[in-house]
């Protein structure tokens, strides 16, 4: 998790203007897809905030997340046997935790060649200060807070920073209640 604000231009951002990213079953290497460096992915647990952008980008579900409510954990898994080396997980990662193995670019994309045990990472979930339900991982909330802290002299960012401990559902409810008070509604 880097303290600096990552404004890393990535290939998907760059190529966004000419091609809309394919979703769902349309493969990452399909025709019309933007050119993204391909290769074998590796994952840096220290920088990962479990935002799940990689799980969303992964077409073959090699990267998945699960919520374990009993343990209060988010489970992040990477199974290289499903991986097609399309490289999109590295392109979308906001913190640079997903990267591509350096020497993999020159090798053919043979995914069953080197068997590796699936990687499994656990991230503690944060409970909403208002309703007590899990809404994000601790690391993600801390990362978002550190980004907001850099916005000095921004009143809206300061307000957002004060509210990062509350889940979006509760924020909506609070906003509706505030609107109700402004409208002078009484309890019936």
């Amino acid at each position: 998790m880097s303290p600096l604000k990552p404004r890393v231009p990535n290939p998907i951002s760059q190529g966004a203007s000419r091609a809309v990213r394919p979703h769902g079953a349309a493969g990452g290497n399909g025709i019309g897809a933007p050119a993204v460096p391909q290769g074998k992915p590796h994952h840096d647990f220290g920088r990962c905030i479990a935002c799940a952008a990689c799980a969303v980008a992964c077409d073959t579900s090699a990267i998945r997340i699960f919520v374990d409510e009993d343990e209060g954990m988010l489970v992040w898994t990477l199974d290289l046997t499903d991986c097609t080396w399309c490289g999109r997980c590295a392109a979308v990662c906001p913190t640079g935790a997903m990267g591509l193995v350096a020497d993999s670019a020159c090798r053919p994309a043979a995914f069953a060649d080197d068997p590796e045990p699936p990687k499994r990472c656990l991230f503690a979930l944060r409970e909403c200060a208002s309703c007590g339900r899990y809404y994000a991982t601790n690391k993600e909330v801390e990362y978002a807070s550190s980004l907001l802290e850099q916005e000095e002299g921004n009143a809206d960012a300061a307000r957002a920073l004060a509210l990062t401990g509350i889940c979006p559902d509760c924020k909506r409810t609070h906003d509706a209640k505030a609107a109700g008070r402004r409208a002078g509604m009484k309890r019936f």
Binding site: G24, Y135, A144, L148, P168, R172, A179, G180, M185
Partner: protein, 222 residues
């Protein structure tokens, strides 16, 4: 100043017409068919919660891809750039950034996941499905020719567009309201003071003795 849609909870009946219209209006214009407005219904209040179009938008400042931008007097999400990391949804002070799935999405990771559960909030559940590839925020129906569709669709006129003029008008109305209330209270106080002064001159003390003066009835008792 950014314009934004406000809702009046005293008029809102919670019918959801704004939500339907919002997602339909965006679908027609090849944008994500997701509602940019949500409805909160509690025991005391029902209100539509909308994007406040913050001037120093926190969603914009945390976006790692630069997918959210300020366009004139509103915010805009570039749906092709958004990676669905949902940092913006996490930091929005009003919970007005919504994850959206493309209409052709199939749920990848947790096919039978619920929208939310007793122990985890909606945001986490939506992440788990792996289908929410982009966020949406209110863009004031920039592509529609005649302004936000939700305002036109609201059957009770609970939604309105707040711009600088409307905000000034509202502030003036509230000031006049406050002055009227104060003047009524002051008038009441003046009348009471006059009454007390008249009583003191007469020596009767009707007002003050009304409650604690002994009744005639008690005097006739032996």
């Amino acid at each position: 100043m950014n314009r934004f849609v406000v809702s009046d909870p005293s008029r809102c009946i919670g019918c959801g017409a704004c939500r339907v219209t919002c997602s339909e209006a965006h679908r027609k214009r090849a944008l994500r068919p997701a509602s940019r407005i949500s409805l909160v219904k509690t025991r005391d209040v029902s209100a539509a919660v909308t994007c406040h179009q913050c001037e120093g938008a926190p969603c914009l400042s945390v976006c790692p891809e630069g997918a959210i931008s300020q366009e004139g007097d509103r915010l805009q999400v570039d749906e092709a750039r958004c990676t669905g990391c949902l940092l913006c949804a996490l930091v929005c002070p009003f919970g007005a950034v919504y994850p959206s799935a493309p209409s052709t999405a199939h749920v990848k990771a947790a096919p039978y996941s619920r929208a939310s559960s007793a122990r985890s909030a909606g945001l986490l559940r939506q992440k788990e499905t792996g289908a929410y590839t982009s966020v949406v925020v209110c863009d004031l129906c920039a592509k529609a020719p005649d302004g936000p569709r939700c305002i036109a669709a609201c059957p009770t006129k609970a939604l309105s567009l707040m711009d600088e003029g409307a905000l000034g008008h509202l502030a003036r109305e509230r000031r006049i309201d406050a002055i009227e209330k104060t003047s009524i209270a002051m008038q009441g106080a003046t009348e009471l003071r006059e009454l007390l002064a008249a009583e003191a001159a007469l020596g009767t003390g009707v007002v003050r003795d009304r409650e604690d003066a002994p009744r005639d009835k008690t005097e006739v008792l032996p």
